[in-house]
Amino acid sequence: MGFFTGLFWLAVAIIAAMAAGWVFRQAAIAVSPKGVAKELRTAPLTASFGMLMIILYILAAFFAPVIAPFSETEIVGREYQAWDNVHLLGTDNLGRDMMSRLIYAARNTVGIAFITTALAFLLGSVLGLLAAVVGGWVDQLLSRAVDVLMAIPALIFALLLLTIIGTSVINMILVIALIDSTRVFRLARAVAMNIVVMDYVEAARLRGESLWRLITREILPNAMAPLVAEFGLRFCFVFLTISALSFLGLGIQPPTADWGSMVKDNATLISFGDITPLLPAGAIALLTVSVNFVVDWQLHRASGLKE
């Protein structure tokens, strides 16, 4: 029985999500300028749902102080209070309002993940494109260096570096960005390798264009699709890395709320069948899935496959 009710609710959730996606797509098409609307029309329901969710997250992040019923750090009740009218999602292990912290965490987690990913991409893609365009020993040197860094397990390397330089948010951003940038480098280089052999790049080289212009005008715009897709994935992996670091005792500074440490703080509850710790984990998962739905759609469009 339990299984079938579970299945029923799963189906309801999927249908509701797709309905939300459909409504959002119709609304978005209605309000967008013509070019954008045309693109939006090609979005499958999953991608529409993803975009809706991403927008909601961004709104939550921006307007956290307005939306959240309580403050991020204030202790407003007993620990682990049940869900009620005042504390919609109950309270956490210190008696802070779960709902409010979830909303504030959107701001912190998404913000930090975004900065980290952006930094990783800046570093990784610039070097990756450079390696592909210049080739020769520059390419060899960078590629070998990246090989070496990738041969050290990421989590353990992060742990080591963070212990050395301390666990401030800035350091965490820098360390994760550095480690992630090796993965970005590999992708950027691989993608750019396929582009540098194109005739238009040859034409630009023959025209005597500078390296900078080659990279920014000729190669980067054409490498954007896979890089953007990777950005989405990496962005999500940054949450997971942060939460794994929290698990090992090095995460975001309390009392700042972030989903990763919230999962960690409340995780023991799951043994008792309480779903409270599912909420921050669910928040991570929902955003990851949403981002990936959108990324999938963009990749699909970029691949030019019809069906």
Partner: protein, 541 residues
């Protein structure tokens, strides 16, 4: 021929294709009847829907296409009503397909003979052993070398012409009633094309197989087809038996197709003081350790067009890479207006780079898809001539007018919003923007339909007189050479075998290789192939 010999009837066939979210018709009500053992030629330019019709005859629509109307009846079976598995049962067994590029259509992961045997085994026509011996027999009939062993090679180990024959053999594996040939020789060199054409023709005759032969090349279809149907934008223009069609086309469109073959420009007289713009001197060049050019020398004079002709692998594009400095030669040099150019483009001055421009074969890959026309054309003018703001805008518009594209309409488009011919015009404008003395045209028309190609050739001709340009025109197509060249350089395997003015080249006596090239160009005569083969057999014995 009586009605009961009818193998395939297509009535009112409509096929739609999807772009973004909307469906548009690409085949608009075409009828077609094919009798047993008959070969029907489908001819038209790109976008005529000929391949789509060919596939529809198998009850097949490509991804993103759908058959939206009409009837397809193959030997009493209604292909539209049939289930997918019934249709699948016909494919490969009773209707087979030969694709344009055998190199791409053979699966690179499997040996030829495994791919040959797949259809007979899967359709339950033959066992493995039987299929293999049958394959060897057919390979022999297709005049493939070492027919007993060639099947055990992988596709990449076999040359293009041989692959095309192996593919025809594969299509024959189940002895189908109908074969669809989709431009089977388009990607081949002329000399190879003849071998493949004759092999295909023989085997179709031997097994009395009906065929639909799809091509854009009239001269080729003339050799193969009993009847020809001309298509334009998904609609039939006219249909007649081959000889009638050749001698007496009724429609204007058909006549215009025929007419292209006759465009030719008079040879230009030499100009200037005799100093060549570009002079290639004793160039030997290599990729890695293998020499691909051996002691190549020729001159290009102002306002003249030098056509460099050869088949694939002859080294004609490599020569262009040496001149542009992309491939520094092992020996020899390139002079520009009598002065030696640095062999590596990175060492050339901006002025030297400006003077020699290049137009590429594939306009698709030669134009950055993310830049607008404004920047694509404007960039060289900005870089070399230092134009900016209004001056740059004016210059860009002038260039667009020169290549006969309406500036207001085109200046802010992306390459993807242009047709193939328009893209090639943008490529020309980009070269012109640098105001060079010399332009390398690398197979600029070979990816284009004949009418469009003719337009490009005429444009290049006009620009040459207007700006006193020197062209190096790389091509494998002798018809193009005839239309546009002043001088001809024939290359084979990295060596210049013959060079001279156009008039000299097209008059006997020829170098034997030039002779072979010239004689291999198909002519608009249904008996040409038969006659040629007879002649060649005669000379050989």
């Amino acid at each position: 021929m009586s009605d009961k010999d009818i193998l395939l009837t297509v009535k009112g066939l409509r096929i739609e294709g999807r772009s973004d979210d909307t469906w548009s018709e690409i085949v608009k009500g075409v009828d077609l009847t094919l009798h047993k053992g008959e070969v029907l030629g489908l001819i038209g330019e790109s976008g005529a829907g000929k391949s789509t019709i060919g596939l529809a005859a198998m009850g097949f629509a490509r991804d993103g296409c759908r058959i939206s109307g009409g009837e397809i009846n193959f030997d009493g079976i209604d292909l539209r009503a049939a289930s997918e598995s019934e249709r699948r049962d016909l494919r490969g067994k009773r209707i087979a397909y030969v694709a344009q590029s055998a190199a791409a259509s053979f699966n690179p992961a499997h040996k030829l003979i495994d791919q040959y045997s797949e259809a007979p085994i899967q359709h339950g026509v033959m066992g493995r052993g039987e299929a293999e011996s049958d394959a060897k027999d057919l390979y022999a009939r297709m005049q493939l070398p070492e027919p007993n062993d060639i099947g055990f090679r992988y596709p990449h180990q076999v040359s293009g012409g041989q692959l095309q024959r192996a593919m025809t053999a594969m299509a024959m594996a189940c002895r189908p009633d109908l074969i669809i040939f989709d431009e089977p020789t388009t990607a081949l060199d002329v000399t190879t094309q003849i071998e493949v054409l004759s092999a295909i023709r023989d085997i179709v005759e031997q097994f009395d197989t009906a065929a639909i032969y799809i091509t854009h090349d009239l001269a080729v279809v003339a050799q193969m087809a009993d009847r020809i149907k001309v298509l334009l934008k998904g609609e039939e223009v006219e249909e007649a038996d081959t000889r009638t069609m050749l001698s007496n086309p009724t429609e204007d469109y058909t006549k215009s197709l025929w007419a292209v073959r006759s465009y030719a420009r008079p040879e230009q007289p030499p100009v200037g003081d005799g100093t060549p713009v570009v002079s290639v001197r004793n160039v030997t060049a290599a990729y890695g350790i293998t020499d691909v050019l051996h002691d190549v020398s020729f001159d290009i004079h102002p306002r003249r067009t030098v056509a460099v002709v050869g088949e694939s692998g002859s080294g004609k594009s490599t020569t262009a890479r040496v001149i542009t400095g992309l491939l520094p030669p092992r020996r020899g040099e390139t002079l520009f207006n009598g002065e030696a150019l640095p062999i590596d483009y990175k060492k050339r001055t901006r002025e030297q780079l400006r003077q020699a421009q290049m137009i590429y074969q594939m306009a698709d890959t030669a134009l950055n898809p993310k830049l607008k026309i404004r920047e694509l054309i404007g960039r060289p003018a900005q870089m070399y001539l230092g134009l900016n703001g209004k001056a740059l805008e004016d210059r860009t518009r002038d260039l667009l007018s020169l290549i006969e594209l309406e500036p207001d309409n085109y200046i802010d488009r992306l390459p993807s919003e242009l047709s193939g011919g328009q893209k090639q015009r943008i490529g020309i404008a980009r070269a012109l923007a640098a105001e060079p003395q010399f332009i390398i045209c690398d197979e600029v028309t070979s990816a284009l339909d004949q009418l469009v190609a003719e337009g490009i050739l005429k444009l290049l001709d006009k620009l040459q007189s207007e700006f006193s340009l020197a062209y190096m025109f790389i091509t494998h197509d002798l018809a193009t050479v005839k239309s546009i060249a002043d001088e001809v350089v024939v290359m084979k395997e990295g060596v210049v075998v013959e060079q001279g003015t156009k008039s000299e080249m097209f008059q006997p006596p020829h170098d034997p290789y030039t002779e072979l090239l010239l004689s291999s160009v198909p002519e608009m005569d249904p008996d040409w192939l038969t006659t040629l083969l007879k002649e060649r057999t005669a000379t050989a014995t």
